[in-house]
Amino acid sequence: MAAIYSLYIINKSGGLIFYKDYGSSGRMDTNDSLRVASLWHSMHAISQQLSPISGCFGIELLQADTFDLHCFQSLTGYISLLFFFLSKKVTRMIQGTKFFVVCEPGTQHMEGLLKHIYELYTDYVLKNPFYEMEMPIRCELFDINLTQAIQKDRVALLAR
């Protein structure tokens, strides 16, 4: 039983830099996952614009009929300023690196897992001299540690 279906990492400009599937049926091909990533990137930005209150960072949790999508965004991204001349207002939008997991509805502790994955990313990707920023992640150590983290999470879920 897979609690986590898949994991995506999107860079600041909406490009998919990491995608891993953990057993969803009818898995996506590369083109589809790239499209989904860039679509999510723009949806995330639009959700910030539609906020009734200022200071919105974008979608954190999307609840669909058959899955939950948890999204974590690093705060190190670009801040785009949008000027609306008619209303003379400025909105700021944050576009950082986004991490999101697709999991079974109601799966708990996903925020913690995403933060942990972010830590792994800062350790094993950003500190790797052979990684080029914003490019697809191909780091063996990241893969190994990520697999461990997801497995640990699965064991914790089964134990409950």
């Binding site: 350790d123 500190k127 790797n128 001299p129 063996e140 150590l141 990241f142």
Partner: protein, 194 residues
């Protein structure tokens, strides 16, 4: 040194106590600096052998300085003159100062008389580094190999030092072995000393 906050500031460096005290450098800070070092050197070279050599050279400078410091600090300005002595000095004293622990193992090469190996399950400089597939057997441990060469050279034991990945059974990650091949003169001298 990083961690200055806790240490008393001496206006004159000579007043400072000799012992190391507890000074630790943030691992992240080191990892980022080392990453930049590798990235900078990568822009300066055309091939991997060249990159390895440059990292080794950078390490050599560290090794030469570390030897001076440790001989002064721990040995009362005396240095090791015997082969095994200097090897265990590298394996324990130098390793402890640089990486906070003694190296995992020190072995004599089985095939050649003049070869010694220092092995680390997870070398500190390699902690966060994944080597891309197209770089083959390149190992950032070349920097540490350089340090070892610097220490040995400074102490009068010229040697060729290289870093290699060695797969370990039952482990996902290979360990790093620092291979030390001493110059002929060193072994001859050692034989004379008996």
């Amino acid at each position: 040194m990083i961690g200055v906050g806790k240490i008393k500031q001496y206006s004159n460096v000579l007043d400072k106590p000799l012992s190391k005290g507890k000074q630790e450098v943030s691992l992240s800070a080191f990892a980022f600096l080392f990453s930049e070092l590798v990235q900078y050197n990568q822009t300066q070279v055309d091939n991997i052998a060249e990159l390895e050599r440059r990292l080794e050279d950078a390490g050599y400078a560290v090794g030469a300085r570390v030897l001076e410091l440790l001989c002064h600090r721990d040995k009362g300005n005396r240095r090791e003159t015997r082969l095994l002595g200097i090897l265990s000095f590298v394996h324990s004293t130098v390793w402890k100062v640089l990486f906070g622990k003694v190296a995992d193992s020190l072995e004599k090469g089985t095939e050649h008389e003049d070869e010694y190996m220092i092995s680390e399950k997870e070398l500190l400089v390699n902690r966060f580094i994944s080597i891309p597939k197209d770089m083959g057997t390149f190992n950032c441990g070349a920097f540490v190999a350089g340090i070892v060469r610097g220490v040995l050279d400074g102490a009068g034991f010229p040697a060729v030092v290289t870093a290699h990945f060695v797969p370990v059974e039952g482990q996902q990650r290979p360990r790093t072995t620092i291979l030390i091949k001493f110059a002929e003169e060193v072994l001859r001298r050692e034989a004379r000393l008996g």
